[in-house]
């Protein structure tokens, strides 16, 4: 039913949507960024951040203030907000939230697996996991000796199990390079997420599907770009491309054959959305890199998500925008602390 979104959404999720819109209004504006850029030391930065929505989050920090402390505190704040949303959510929003955390869970699992294989202490590893990707079986990781044991014992219980099953049979888990494994997991995750959003229908599908398609294509481009000159074969590369994007199937096949950046650009000529992005890429150190261009596009799409109401995409968009803001602040803080101000304006502004 076409009107079902307006009718039913607010019953379950209206409070949270209102909350998230309020939080979004508290994101740093261009004026705030201008103020931050003019700071001379990290202490000034802290003072400026106190006037924004961040408040006194750095109040309990002892001297000296380092960039990593700022980063940890910001992440903790984001995590607090996210957990709050999650705890108050109902179906299907809670499944949506679980999907969102799967991405971070994949990173954590890879970290734990590689650490457990090298018999490192579990305590340190747990401290370094991304807080948004926490799951209850994390401490049990050190009981397993090989990846297949790990899978059977621990990971079967987590939401990541279907992704592992998609990728491969268990005996190939042992030989696989850890990065390839990470990318394969992420591919199945993205496809599952995309199908979930599509099945959900309504406004959520309208908003989330383009965002996820862009994410899939972006991964395909970046993987291609970064695998030039490495030992990754073309078939292996093709197996890592998520198939839920606009490039599927023709574009992906062409990309897999590409040898350098020029060939990639020619593939893109067929797709109107990405052509202007590639045009905007500068060369070498002067202009923007491809990744910067992609980040800007992502930010644009996320901001557009807020123009529609009654869908779950606002939460995704808000989390992503918050993360981008954290990255910006860390970048500015690093430039200030290293006194290297030439590129301080290369953060991605959020309109």
């Amino acid at each position: 039913m076409l009107g079902s979104a307006e009718l039913c959404f607010n019953v379950d999720h209206g409070y949270l949507e209102g909350l998230v819109r309020g939080c979004k209004a508290g994101l740093l504006t261009q004026q705030d960024y201008l103020n931050l850029v003019q700071c001379e030391t990290l202490e000034d930065l802290k003072v400026h951040l106190q006037t924004t929505d961040y408040g006194n989050f750095l109040a309990n920090q002892t001297n000296p203030l380092t960039v990593s402390k700022i980063d940890t505190e910001m992440r903790r704040k984001l995590c607090g907000e996210f957990e709050y949303f999650r705890n108050h959510s109902l179906e299907p929003l809670s499944t949506f939230f679980t999907y969102m955390t799967c991405g971070y869970m994949i990173d954590n699992v890879i970290l734990l697996v590689s650490g457990a294989l090298q018999k490192k202490s579990v305590r340190d590893l747990l401290g370094r996991c991304h807080p948004l990707g926490r799951f209850s079986e994390m401490e049990a990781v050190n009981i397993a000796d090989t990846p297949s044991d790990l899978f059977h014992a621990v990971l079967v219980e987590t939401p990541l199990a279907p992704f592992f099953q998609d990728c491969m049979s268990e005996n190939t888990l042992d030989e696989l390079n850890i990065e390839v494994l990470r990318n394969k997991l992420y591919k199945s995750y993205l496809e599952a997420f995309y199908n979930f959003c599509k099945d959900h229908g309504d406004v959520t599908a309208e908003i989330m599907c383009p965002i996820l398609e862009f994410e899939a294509d972006r991964r395909a481009f970046i993987i291609t770009l970064n695998s030039f000159g490495t030992e990754l074969s073309k078939d292996a590369r093709e197996a890592l491309y998520p198939t839920c994007g606009q490039l599927y199937p023709e574009g992906l096949r062409l990309l897999a054959q590409a040898e350098d950046f020029e060939q990639m650009k020619r593939v893109v000529d067929h797709y109107g959305v990405y052509k202007p992005l590639f045009e905007a890429v500068g060369d070498g150190s002067g202009g923007k890199s491809l990744e910067d261009v992609f980040y800007e596009h992502e930010v644009k799409m996320n901001v557009l998500a807020f123009t529609r109401q009654f869908h779950c995409g606002v939460f995704y968009a808000y989390t992503k925008l918050r993360e981008q803001e954290m990255r910006n602040i860390v970048w500015i803080a690093e430039c200030i602390s290293q006194r290297h101000r030439t590129k301080i304006n290369s953060y991605i502004p959020i309109p």
């Binding site: 890879i110 990744e291 970048w331």
Partner: protein
């Protein structure tokens, strides 16, 4: 003795030459160290900044890197270099094994990570060079101190000692010669006085007629023993 003096002087000249050569090399190394250290500052700054850039694009990959560490990729060999008899260690780096972090950042930030790897590799090479320079600096410093000490010792202690000994010997010899001479002269004087004394006495006796001259065989005109003339 003179030979010893000559030997000492030659030794001192040789050592001075060695010390000069070492000092020259020392100054060269010092200049290079200053240059390298300035370059080091620049390179480290650039490397730290590229780390910040990579973190911006790729997120936090530090844990991944730390987990996957196993063997060192860049290793160092020590070679020896000889400068005027002093052996200096020189470190040379070589690559071993493949890059185990080739696929890190495959999904995001690979370009920045590649730049980061290059920058830090440059920094490591510079560090190795700086290490060689500094060890040679310290070793050369020691060697120069020792050599200078030896040169000074020879110059201010050994050679003067030998010279003083030589001078003393020469002075003694001269003195003895003078003594000998004096003695001879004194004896001659005494002999002369004695001779004069006896002559005077003889004169005196002759005048008093006590002493006849003994018959002068040659002046005799008549010989009593001849029977027939």
């Amino acid at each position: 003795m003179k030979a010893r003096l000559k030997g000492a002087q030659t030794g001192r000249n040789l050592l001075k030459k060695k010390s000069d050569a070492l000092t020259l090399r020392f100054r060269q190394i010092l200049k290079k160290i200053i240059e390298t250290k300035m370059l080091m500052g620049e390179v480290m700054r650039e490397a730290a900044f590229s780390l910040a850039e990579a973190k911006f694009t790729a997120g936090d990959f530090s844990t991944t890197v730390i987990q996957n560490v196993n063997k060192a990729q860049v290793k160092i060999r020590a070679k020896k270099d000889n400068v005027a008899g002093v052996t200096l260690p020189i470190f040379e780096h070589y690559h071993e094994g493949t890059d185990s972090y080739e696929l890190t950042g495959l999904a995001r930030g690979g370009e920045q990570l590649a730049k980061l790897k290059r920058n830090y590799a440059k920094a490591v090479e510079l560090l190795v060079e700086l290490a060689s320079l500094q060890t040679s600096f310290v070793t050369l410093d020691e060697a120069i101190k020792i050599t200078n000490r030896r040169v000074n010792a020879i110059e201010h202690v050994i050679i003067p000692r030998i010279e003083r000994t030589l001078a003393y010997i020469i002075a003694e010899l001269d003195e003895r010669e003078r003594e000998e001479f004096y003695r001879l002269k004194k004896i001659q004087e005494k002999k002369k006085i004695l001779k004069e004394k006896t002559e005077r006495e003889l004169e005196k006796r002759k005048v008093a007629g006590e002493v006849t001259e003994p018959a002068n065989l040659l002046a005799e005109e008549k010989d009593e023993d001849l029977l027939f003339e």
